[in-house]
């Protein structure tokens, strides 16, 4: 399909307009960016406090402030968030390995192999993450018997697999784009030196793709991390599920906004540095590309 944005073969001609968009926003100056993180949290929390306190003063049970309750739940939520991070790392690892393989198959010299790899990539890339999650949760058996040994598949493992499928597909696209973006001269000179295709890939092409894929790969990790709360919908006890449990245990309306904002901030503080680093890398490498 037409929108594979990392696929940017060099364009002949004189007008820079022509270069397909490598989405590369300039980013705000440093002081604005710092301003961002802190104002985002402080301003929104302040707003929430202003919204909540007067409207629900009559509901508030005396004794514990919303802030104290947040603190109380923090260790539990932290464990839940840690679980989300674990899921994201495992899915990323599986998805990356599968995706690199699929991406290489997408540039195979054999047409049928290329086509099958393309279909798989497009299928998983264009399916909603949540549907893929349901697919894995409901259709992978809870255990598989291999040579008489029973391997159990708890929900969270299935969720990891479910999340790794789209990661694989995106990774496959990035790899294909990166491999195709390497000048054909590299292939030709390797061939003239007597390298086999496999050797050329391993020794010459793949090392050069790493730099090109890295920003997209990091961005993908941030996207994946932000998708992990989806597992709460299919019954895995992640930070989102725990948050909702905590909210129903407390049963206080004035806790709703602070609690959700609190979780949003957790994710923000985890993901924002990753995307900032990604933008920095993109800008750094784009000069040389």
């Amino acid at each position: 399909m037409a929108w594979t944005h990392s696929q940017t073969p060099p364009v002949k001609g004189h007008l820079p307009v022509l270069l397909p968009l490598r989405s590369m926003p300039q980013g705000l100056p440093l002081q604005d960016r710092l301003f961002n993180v802190w104002t985002a949290s402080i301003l929104v929390l302040a707003l929430a406090a202003a919204l909540i306190t007067p409207a629900f003063a009559q509901d508030a049970t005396p004794g514990r402030s919303a802030f104290a309750i947040l603190l109380e739940w923090t260790p539990t939520l932290a464990k839940g968030f840690g679980f989300n991070v674990l899921i994201s790392i495992l899915s990323m690892a599986i998805g990356t390995v599968l995706g690199v393989g699929l991406g290489i198959l997408q540039v195979s010299p054999l047409r049928p192999v290329r086509q099958v790899a393309w279909v798989i990539t497009q299928f998983f890339r264009n399916s909603p993450w949540l549907v893929l999650l349901f697919y894995c949760i409901l259709l992978i058996p809870f255990q598989i018997e291999v040579f008489g040994t029973k391997i159990p598949f708890p929900g969270w493992v299935k969720a990891v697999i479910g999340l790794s499928l789209p990661v694989m597909a995106y990774m496959s696209e990035y790899m294909r784009g990166a491999i195709l973006s390497i000048p054909t001269g590299q292939w030709e000179s390797a061939e003239s030196l007597g390298f086999s295709r496999g050797q050329t890939l391993r020794e010459i092409i793949l090392p050069q793709t790493i730099k090109r894929v890295l920003p997209s790969w990091m961005n993908l990790y941030a996207v994946l991390t932000m998708a992990t709360p989806l597992v709460s919908i299919v019954g895995v006890n992640d930070v989102m599920a725990l948050t909702r449990a905590a909210l129903s245990a407390e049963g206080r309306v004035d806790l709703l906004i602070p609690m959700y904002l609190y979780i949003l901030c957790w994710f923000f503080l985890y993901c924002y540095p990753i995307s900032a680093l990604t933008r920095w890398l993109e800008r750094k490498y784009s000069v040389k590309l």
């Binding site: 004189h14 007008l15 307009v17």
Partner: protein, 248 residues
């Protein structure tokens, strides 16, 4: 103050320009008469391009004065449109509008900016395209043309505004050697028609052939100037001689 044809059409007096700490122009003065063709040469970074961009108010100046047909360019209340009707400019990178055809590129400014009648503008545009020898390319898009062809469209686009002065900023620097000639021929035709031309160029042979006066700039000042015959053969300043010995 009104301008008459016996006064210089473009006049620079002690022009100073800096970008932050970097002084690019350090007191440049020159007078150009109507119908004159002048070439500005010099090593890169000597301020040549900045100089002609200042004439068109694309860059502002810190001190001194630039007048075009009596209009003070450094005036903060400058009517930029009035200035740009008089001064056309052609860039090194052509800068055509890639989403418009050749004909549209030439027609756009007179219609949109000057509000002229579309049918008249089209007639003039077609004449200009013929003049730069691109008949048949009216409906092509810039991306479908060679560099030399694009540059000639850019010249036609500027001419469509009927300027009195044309500025050429290293217009052949980005071109393939074989297309340089077609652009230079276009400029030559223009000069022969009596257009006032100010060129920043590296084409010494061309400068020698068509210029009425050659200016050599280095580090923000005009080192030497004169008619090409004397300039190229009897340069007095050692900096000029060194530069000429490198490029000739």
């Amino acid at each position: 103050m009104s301008w008459t044809e016996d006064q210089p059409i473009v006049s620079l007096k002690d022009v100073h320009k800096s970008f932050g700490e970097v002084k690019v122009l350090r007191g440049v003065s020159m007078d150009i008469q109507k119908g004159e063709v002048i070439c500005i040469i010099g090593p890169s970074g000597s301020g040549k391009s900045t100089l002609i961009r200042c004439i068109n108010a694309l860059n502002d100046i810190q001190s001194g004065s630039i007048t075009v047909e009596g209009i003070e360019v450094s005036d903060p209340k400058l009517d930029k449109l009035a200035l740009r009707k008089k001064v056309g400019m052609v860039f090194q990178q052509y800068n055509l509008f890639p989403h418009r055809t050749v004909l549209q590129n030439v027609m756009m400014a007179p219609i949109k900016v000057l509000g002229q009648n579309k049918a008249e503008v089209e007639q003039r545009a077609r004449d200009l395209i013929r003049k730069v020898r691109l008949e048949g390319k009216e409906d092509a898009y810039p991306g479908e043309l060679s560099g030399g062809q694009q540059q000639r469209v850019a010249i036609a686009r500027s001419l469509a505004m009927s300027p009195d002065v044309m500025l050429f900023d290293e217009v052949t620097a980005a071109l393939d050697p074989e297309t340089v000639k077609e652009v230079l021929n276009t400029i030559k035709d223009l000069a022969a028609d009596g257009m006032t031309c100010i060129l920043v160029t590296h084409e010494m042979g061309f400068a020698r052939e068509i210029a009425d006066c050659v200016y050599f700039t280095d580090r923000g000042v005009i080192v030497e100037s004169g008619p090409p015959a004397t300039f190229f053969d009897q340069a007095t300043d050692p900096r000029t001689r060194e530069f000429l010995s490198q490029v000739l």
